[in-house]
């Protein structure tokens, strides 16, 4: 019998009901979050709306946070003028208030102490903690040079610390956004069109007639604008084609679902290119006018027929042809979506190249319903001295490897932190701001070794994430609802900016990132870079230059600007120079060739699972952002844990039952720290299992998330590195099931 509690109910017709969300609630912890005397709904007029933009993910939707008469935050809703969200936040943004309410937030600065051989965290004053960080930054600078202090960051707080690190003299910064996420697509598209995709993606989904998703699960990936526009496209009758070994939510809404054999996508892409060219259904005028390298491409794909691809991908030749024709029929209003998290098999830049080339043949770049030309407003820089020139940065450590990386490679910074690896330049200390490296970076041993090796780690976060356990000093940041940040200026159809202003005062002894950066800067004698009393001064100065003011932005939240760069799309027959070596769309990549890489993509075979092993595929759930939201009471309430999806045939073989707890062991013998529940479902191929990323927290401080589910990151020990840009391909890991708790005999 279903209970009222399990409000995400999942039933599989025929195979009985499986339910998510079974564990008991910690009522004490949870109920205390709300002032229980105000049970009834309050109307909007009785509340005050404060302008903010969301920080639960990188989409940064502008919204209004409502406070009641007592000053408590009651709800957060989207800003109707914001192109990122059009007045509708996603579930994480709506539940963002849980980030503020979470009772286990970091509350005071902490300093690691060793007493009698035991280590623990001691509460410290801001003055002491900042003093310690400053002295370490000075010490590292004197002993090794400021370059030896690296910054790992993500999200809005990162920009304040980047400013600090540039002023300090270090350019060693890395975000998982590059090597653990979208780097390859930027490389693939830059080589073809001379432009990155960037964020938000300039995909004209609302006007498309055909959307092709390759392993990209929009709808579970809750990138707000993309989800909203996909829904509009469905309303307008667009054809959706999804390539995925799993019936994703998007696949279930598709006219064609291609349940591909994992790791073979590139063969399918090449076969599609073959069909477009050899059936003569590509956009000839567009290719003739804007592209180079067509003849080489034509020869290159000559034998890459649908029949060839069938043997590799298990997708029938007829289906490959039909879907290619669907794309051609919709051309140029067609999008072969670049995806976002695309570090899969180590040849990801080449796969993304093939996606870009397919779009070129369909004439979709710079066309309505394809990709629009994005534009953003440059925000003027507040007066400051020039940054010093670091003596070296992460690029100098590569010795020619990963030549196409244009953002810091996190994993390379980690390796440079381990002296035995003999990097030319060594990293000696880290600041980690807003990124939970242990659950983000594959190959946990590498992370641990590096963390052990460095002399000092300072962590800035709002939550006691796993990374905090490695810190020498912890600086508690307040949540986005309690602080200012820099102005959001993101590229879009219509250039626009958004303001984040504090809704409430910082809780506990938490502080905003801008304040922390400024304090450290001043203590380091870098006051000239922080020549203001308060960030309000900076924001108001910048906003006035942009023709508005802090006061006005507090009332509107968002401001839009007219486009200056020209139209959204190419005009009929317009001359256009692409930002590539040849000024053309490069079907044959001169840049790749110059760097010694295949100028035209080739399919490479990747390992398939051994007997009794299944490929570990991971993805997103719409109500969580990576591992950072798992303890948010509102979002935890929607999804408390992950499960491992298993095809019924596989379940039969292993005699697995729905909701049974298993441990997963990977090809290198690494076992999941916690058990994970089995979800038997026809939605996944028999050669793979699937898990939502971000669970399996092992920091006991995370009252709700601790021990819930398994961490995919910990099971990813085989990393297939992209030689072009350093991306860490993570889809080459295979797991098997352990139905008994491992090491049980030893314990008893």
């Amino acid at each position: 019998m279903k209970t009222r509690r399990d409000f995400i109910k999942i039933s599989a017709l025929g195979t009985g009901a499986a339910t998510l969300g079974l564990s008991a609630l910690n009522w004490n912890g949870v109920k205390a979050l709300y002032a229980a005397d105000e049970q009834e709904a309050v109307s909007d007029e009785e509340m005050t709306a404060h302008a903010t933009y969301c920080e639960v993910c990188f989409w940064k939707c502008a919204g209004w946070a409502y406070t009641d008469k007592k000053g408590s935050i009651r709800k957060i809703v989207g800003n109707a003028d914001d192109p990122h969200c059009k007045g509708r936040l996603c579930p994480r943004g709506t539940g963002g208030v849980g980030m503020y309410n979470d009772e286990v937030r970091l509350k005071t600065p902490l300093i690691r102490e060793t007493v009698g051989g035991k280590q623990y965290f001691r509460k410290a004053s801001w003055d002491e903690a900042l003093g310690l960080v400053t002295s370490k930054m000075k010490e590292v600078s004197e002993k090794y040079g400021p370059e030896a202090f690296a910054l790992f960051n993500h999200g809005a707080p990162g920009s304040h610390f980047k400013h600090l690190f540039h002023a300090y003299g270090s350019g060693n910064e890395g975000e998982p956004a590059w090597a653990q996420c979208r780097g390859p697509r930027e490389v693939g598209f830059a080589a073809t069109f001379g432009s990155w995709i960037g964020s938000p993606e300039p995909t004209d989904i609302r006007d498309t007639r055909c959307l092709v998703l390759i392993g990209s699960h929009i709808g579970e990936n809750m990138h707000n604008g993309q989800v909203q526009e996909m829904s509009t496209a469905i309303d307008r009758g667009a054809t959706i084609i999804t390539v995925d070994p799993r019936l994703s939510t998007a696949a279930s809404k598709s006219k064609y679902w291609l349940p591909i054999k994992p790791a073979t996508d590139l063969a399918l892409l090449l076969a599609w290119i073959h069909v477009l060219i050899y059936e003569d259904i590509y956009d000839k005028d567009y290719i003739e006018k804007y592209a180079m390298g067509f003849d080489q491409l034509k020869t290159h794909v000559k034998n890459m027929t649908p029949e060839w691809a069938y043997g590799i991908t298990t997708i029938k030749p007829d289906l490959i042809r039909r879907t290619a024709r669907e794309m051609a029929a919709a051309s140029p209003a067609v999008i072969v979506h670049p995806g976002r998290h695309v570090v899969w098999y180590g040849d990801d830049s080449q796969r993304e190249r093939a996606i870009a080339m397919l779009n070129a043949l369909l004439g979709s770049w710079g066309r309505r319903g394809g990709f629009y030309f994005k534009e953003k407003v440059p925000v003027p820089r507040f007066p400051q001295p020039e940054y010093p020139h670091p003596a070296w940065d992460w690029k100098d450590n590569l010795d020619g490897r990963y030549p196409l990386s244009s953002m810091g490679i996190t994993t390379e910074l980690l390796k440079a932190s381990i002296p035995e690896l003999g990097y030319k330049h060594q990293i000696k200390a880290w600041m980690v701001a807003g990124t939970n490296l242990p659950l983000t970076i594959p190959d946990n041993e590498l992370f641990k070794k590096a963390a052990d090796a460095v002399e000092f780690i300072v962590v800035v976060d709002t939550m006691p994430m796993e990374i905090v356990k490695y810190a020498d000093v912890v600086l508690p940041e307040c949540t986005y609802l309690e602080r200012y940040d820099y102005i959001r200026s993101a590229s879009h159809r219509e250039p626009n900016i958004a303001l984040r202003a504090p809704v409430v005062k910082p809780k506990y002894e938490t502080k905003p990132a801008w304040w922390i950066a400024k304090q450290l800067g001043e203590r380091l004698g870098l006051g000239a870079y922080f020549n203001y009393n308060d960030i309000e001064e900076v924001l108001d100065w910048q906003l006035k230059k942009l023709g508005t003011s802090l006061e006005e932005m507090k009332k509107t939240g968002v401001k839009k600007f007219p486009r200056r760069s020209g139209a959204l799309y190419l005009h009929e027959g317009e001359d256009y120079e692409f930002n590539t070596n040849t000024g053309k769309i490069e079907l044959y990549s001169t840049d790749f060739e110059d760097h010694g890489f295949d100028p035209l993509p080739n399919y490479t075979e990747h390992p398939q699972p051994q007997d009794n092993y299944y490929r570990l595929i991971y993805g997103r759930a719409p109500m969580h952002t990576f591992s950072r939201t798992s303890n948010n009471p509102n979002l935890w309430d929607l999804m408390e844990t992950n499960s491992v999806w298993v095809n019924p045939k596989v379940a039969d073989l292993w005699d697995l039952k729905n909701s049974q707890e298993v441990w997963l062991q990977n090809q290198d013998g690494v076992v999941s720290e916690f058990p994970v529940k089995v979800r038997i479902t026809e939605r996944i191929r028999w050669d793979s299992v699937y898990m939502v990323h971000g669970f399996g927290h092992n920091n006991k401080k995370l009252s709700r998330a601790y021990g819930h589910g398994a961490s995919d990151s910990k099971l990813i020990t085989n990393v297939m590195t992209d030689p072009m840009m350093g991306g860490t391909g993570m889809r080459g890991n295979f797991v098997t099931f352990l139905t008994e708790k491992p090491g049980k005999e030893l314990e008893s």
């Binding site: 009222r4 709904a41 989800v227 829904s231 509009t232 939510t249 679902w257 719409p622 929607l638």
Partner: protein, 177 residues
């Protein structure tokens, strides 16, 4: 006037935004909910289908929960909205048993609670919190007697179904299929 909601199962992605938005709008304590998501999977790989439904009280025309309420706390107001007056409710739970849709829950403060179609918002000319938040805009609300309401327009050109019609409750949630 007859308020009703249509839910487009072809667009819903099961994200749960409607659930959180309702919780924050109506101060529903964490651990409880007035609306929820059902995912039905049918077929076998690779011929599999999913139906996603955002469900809530059906504001039934023939509501057993109202008929069985011993105190009159459960009642019907303008537009057919089924409501519970919290301070008249003794928390006996008869209505919870009588509802074929499992749409009611016992609030920890001792009364029974459920979806109100956000009537406090309707009174101000706004739509329900779930309708206004849904990122896929797959929820349509309004007056069935008004042919120009969002819900009437949504139902006009699409096939739809209601849940458990055999229970005879005349439910007012319409699932577009």
């Amino acid at each position: 006037m007859r308020y009703a909601m249509a839910i487009d199962t072809k667009k819903c992605v099961g994200c749960g935004d409607c659930v959180v938005a309702c919780q924050t709008e109506n101060n529903v304590p964490i651990g409880y909910c007035r609306d929820w998501i059902v995912e039905n999977v049918s077929g076998s790989y690779p011929n599999v289908e999913i139906e996603l439904r955002s469900e809530r009280c059906n504001h039934c025309d023939n509501a057993p929960c109202v008929r069985c309420c011993p105190t009159g706390a459960s009642h019907i107001v303008e537009g057919g909205i089924v409501k519970v007056t919290h301070n008249e409710c003794i928390g006996c739970g008869a209505c919870i048993q009588s509802c074929p849709y499992d749409a009611r829950y016992s609030h920890p403060d001792g009364y029974v609670d459920k979806c109100t179609f956000c009537d406090h918002r309707l009174a101000k000319g706004q739509s329900t919190a779930c309708v206004e938040v849904c990122p896929t805009s797959c929820l349509y609300f309004g007056d069935l007697e008004d042919p120009n309401s969002d819900v009437s327009k949504a139902l006009k050109n699409r096939s739809w179904k209601v849940l458990a019609p055999e229970a005879g409750t005349k439910p007012q949630l319409y699932f577009l299929t």
